[in-house]
Structures are given as structure tokens and as C-alpha cells.
């Protein structure tokens, strides 16, 4: 099961090495190292996906902290959806980094380092089964995204786009953390499966509802669902194109994935009584988002902003 750990560690270590040695600016070497790290990660994730498809959900406990009665360790709970999405991220990152090798001229080594951390955080986010670990990877990928979107910081537009992006997403993540704190107080555990079991006993109490609302807001800001979609066009309009490949391909989809994972594993047993109402609310939000995104995309003249609205 070292395969699961390595698929996250290889890109992070490569990114760290590139950042440490960034004073020795070797653009070609940095690009090759980055593509190799992400390619290796993609191969490992393909192996994981094959195993998950064959054996069902795989669970990997970091540091061998397997549960003895209570869950104390952090785990990667890898099923087909998580592994598949992580593989998609890694595979998408290969052409993005190849393009970055050609397109990024200034401080290219730091760019590749930041991209590798971004990809590693997204992979970890898809694979994890612990709620706070989800938050940490969520923050890491957000911070890497702020840096990458605002990379061409000499122009006025990228600066403003990056600031809008960073402030809205930070507010979202603070609300997410507030919700996680409330959930921990209610359930006494951070492992998503165990929280689901604990909350089933306590039902849809006021604290659970408030926590669910806060966590939803945090994740839906990332997913660019109406009414939290205002940052998307600005951020997409100014990002350099290699970043846009990763951002448009997976970033918002990961917000939705996180939301689905948290809802089904953590909250669904507790909120089962209100299932119909919740379903109606989310379908309505999704419809409004889709229609609004399409309408605004038609009104755009700038290609990257149009892409941003299409993602919504």
C-alpha cells in the first residue's frame, strides 16, 4: 500500500526539490523533472484504480495507526471514484506541465515547483478519508492555485483576478473550517466514516444542520455554484494557460467531489429524513448554475472568461 502514499509524496518531494534549487535556474531540467514526477504519480494511481476496482474500497492508514476500537489515525479511503478522479488530475497535469515548459519564461523552476505541489494536493484531496486531512489538502491546493493564477503579476488584471480569487476562496475555507470544528464537537472523531456513524445516532440536530450549511458553503465556493460563483470568471480570465488547463479541468470538479463525499459519508445518515428537501434544493441550485453559466458564457468576448463561465 505504499503505492497510495507515493502517489502523493512523489510530486510533493519533486516540487520541494525544484523550489529549493530554484536559484540555479534550469528551465528544461525543471520541466522534465516535473513531467516525470507527475507521470510517475499517474502510473501509481492507475495501479491503485485497478486494485480498487478489483478489491472494492482500499484503506491505507498513515504511520500504521490502524484503529483499535477508536479511530485515531489518518487514512486514505480509496474507492473507484476517488482514484479515478486523482488519475484524471495526474493525467491532465502532464500536458499542462509540458506546455508550461514552453510557455513560462520567468521563474520557471518555481512555477513548476508550485504546479507540482498543486497536483499533489489535488491527488491527496481525492484520496483521503479523514475530514481534517481533506481540509488541509483543500487549503494547500487553494494556496497553490492563488500563487499560480496570479503568476504574471506584472499586469493589473492578473493581480486583481488573483486577489479576488484568493479572498473569496479564503472566506469559503474559513467557513469550511468552522463547520468542521462544529462537526468534531458533535461527533468526536475526524474520520469521515466514523463521523457518519456517530451523527446517525444524534440525528438532524441544530448543530449538525448549521455545520452542514457551513461546510457546504465552503465546498460550494470552490465548486463555483451559484451564488458563490463570482470569483470564477475573474480568476479564469487572468490565469496563464497551463494553469488554466488544470484549473478548468479539475479544480471546481474537486469542489463538487468533496461536497459529494462529505455529504454521502458524513451527513447523509443524519439528514436522511430531509433527503427529499435537500435533493430539491441542490438540483435547483445546479440548474440555476448551469443556466446562468451558459447565458453569461454566450455574452463574453474574452475567451478565457468564457471558459470560466462554461466551467460554472
Amino acid at each position: 500500500m505504499a503505492v497510495a502514499a507515493l502517489s502523493v509524496l512523489v510530486p510533493i518531494l519533486a516540487g520541494g526539490v525544484l523550489a529549493l534549487t530554484s536559484s540555479v535556474e534550469r528551465r528544461r531540467v525543471a520541466a522534465v523533472v516535473a513531467v516525470a514526477a507527475v507521470g510517475a504519480s499517474a502510473v501509481l494511481l492507475a495501479i491503485l484504480l485497478a486494485r480498487a476496482g478489483r478489491d472494492g474500497r482500499l484503506v491505507y492508514w498513515w504511520g500504521d495507526w490502524a484503529p483499535r476500537g477508536r479511530v485515531l489515525g489518518i487514512d486514505f479511503a480509496i474507492d473507484g471514484l476517488g482514484a479515478g478522479l486523482a488519475l484524471f488530475v495526474a493525467v491532465l497535469a502532464v500536458p499542462a506541465l509540458v506546455m508550461a515548459g514552453y510557455a513560462i519564461r520567468a521563474s520557471a523552476q518555481l512555477f513548476h515547483g508550485a504546479c507540482l505541489v498543486f497536483v499533489a494536493a489535488m491527488i491527496g484531496y481525492c484520496l483521503t478519508g479523514d475530514l481534517f486531512n481533506l481540509f488541509v489538502f483543500f487549503e494547500l491546493m487553494s494556496v497553490a492555485a492563488y500563487v499560480l493564477v496570479g503568476y504574471e503579476v506584472r499586469g493589473r488584471a492578473p493581480l486583481e483576478g488573483a486577489l479576488t480569487f484568493a479572498v473569496t476562496n479564503t472566506v469559503g475555507s474559513i467557513l469550511l473550517l468552522f463547520g468542521i470544528g462544529l462537526v468534531y464537537g458533535e461527533a468526536g472523531s475526524l474520520n469521515m466514516a466514523q463521523i457518519g456513524q456517530a451523527l446517525e445516532a444524534s440525528g438532524a440536530s441544530a448543530v449538525v444542520c448549521v455545520a452542514f450549511a457551513l461546510i457546504s458553503v465552503g465546498l460550494l465556493v470552490k465548486a463555483a455554484i451559484v451564488p458563490f460563483h463570482f470569483w470564477t470568471a475573474d480568476a479564469y480570465g487572468v490565469a496563464p494557460t497551463p494553469v488554466l488547463i488544470l484549473l478548468g479541468g479539475v479544480f471546481s470538479e474537486l469542489g463538487l467531489y468533496g461536497f459529494a463525499r462529505v455529504f454521502w459519508t458524513v451527513f447523509e445518515p443524519a439528514l436522511a429524513a430531509h433527503h427529499g428537501t435537500l435533493l430539491a434544493i441542490f438540483v435547483a441550485l445546479g440548474l440555476v448554475t448551469g443556466v446562468l453559466g451558459a447565458a453569461m458564457a454566450l455574452a463574453q468576448h474574452h475567451l478565457k472568461r468564457m471558459l470560466g463561465f462554461v466551467v460554472i
Binding site: F132, V136, E139, L140, S142, V143, Y146, V147, G150, V153, R154, R156, A157, L159, E160, G161, A162, L163, A166, V167, T170, V171, S173, I174, L177, F178, G181, L182, Y184, G185, L190, A233, D234, G237, V238, Q300, H301, H302, R305
Partner: protein, 115 residues
């Protein structure tokens, strides 16, 4: 007085959010984000507190069976502080760039995106 920390956390969150929305200076806006972050720290520590509990360190005079406050939330808070420090650093770097290149730190004046 066990409700007080939660009220403080909620108040800090709301005040911070209001500050972010109505801010006219980028550094002020980032500090208001810091206030919102502080509300999460207060909430986490309040969740972990046990009345009469000691600090979670087992020594020769403090047996393992005593009542401790929850150490997990303390670890969460420390992790949280580190994560939010990174975010604030990135935002401040962007602010410095805004001042250096465009001479303004007013978020409203930076508006240039349209189309």
C-alpha cells in the same frame, strides 16, 4: 459560562466578514481575514475544553486516568495556524505587488476586469 466561547467565535466570524466586505484598504482586508481565522481557533479550542481538565501531558504526578482537555483540537488549531499563515503570506505578497506596480491598495480602485 460554557456558551461564551462559542458566542465569541461567532461574533469574531461575523465582524471579520463584515470587515472584509466593507474594506477600503487591502492590508486591512487581510487583517480582517485574520480575525475570521481567529474565530475558528477559538471555536476549536472551545470544543476541546473539558471543565476541570488538565493539560494533556502525563507525568509522574499526573496519572493517565485523570481528566484531560482534548489534545486533538489543539493539534488541529496548530495546523490551522500554519495553513492560514501561508494564505496571509500569499495575500500580502499580492498586496505588495499591487502597491509597487499600481500605487494603490484600495480594492475598489483595482477594478479593471470586464468583457
Amino acid at each position: 459560562m460554557t456558551v461564551l466561547p462559542y458566542l465569541v467565535a461567532a461574533w469574531l466570524l461575523i465582524v471579520g466578514l463584515w470587515g472584509v466586505i466593507t474594506s477600503r484598504h487591502l492590508v486591512h482586508m487581510i487583517l480582517c481575514l485574520g480575525v475570521m481565522q481567529a474565530s475558528t481557533y477559538v471555536l476549536l479550542l472551545a470544543v476541546g475544553y473539558r471543565t476541570g481538565g488538565k493539560a494533556p501531558i502525563v507525568t509522574t504526578s499526573v496519572p493517565p486516568s485523570s481528566s484531560f482537555v482534548d489534545p486533538i483540537v489543539q493539534a488541529l488549531t496548530l495546523t490551522d495556524v500554519v495553513v492560514e499563515a501561508t494564505v496571509v503570506a500569499v495575500l500580502l505578497a499580492l498586496t505588495v505587488q499591487a502597491h509597487k506596480r499600481f500605487g494603490t491598495v484600495d480594492p475598489d480602485e483595482l477594478g479593471e476586469l470586464s468583457g
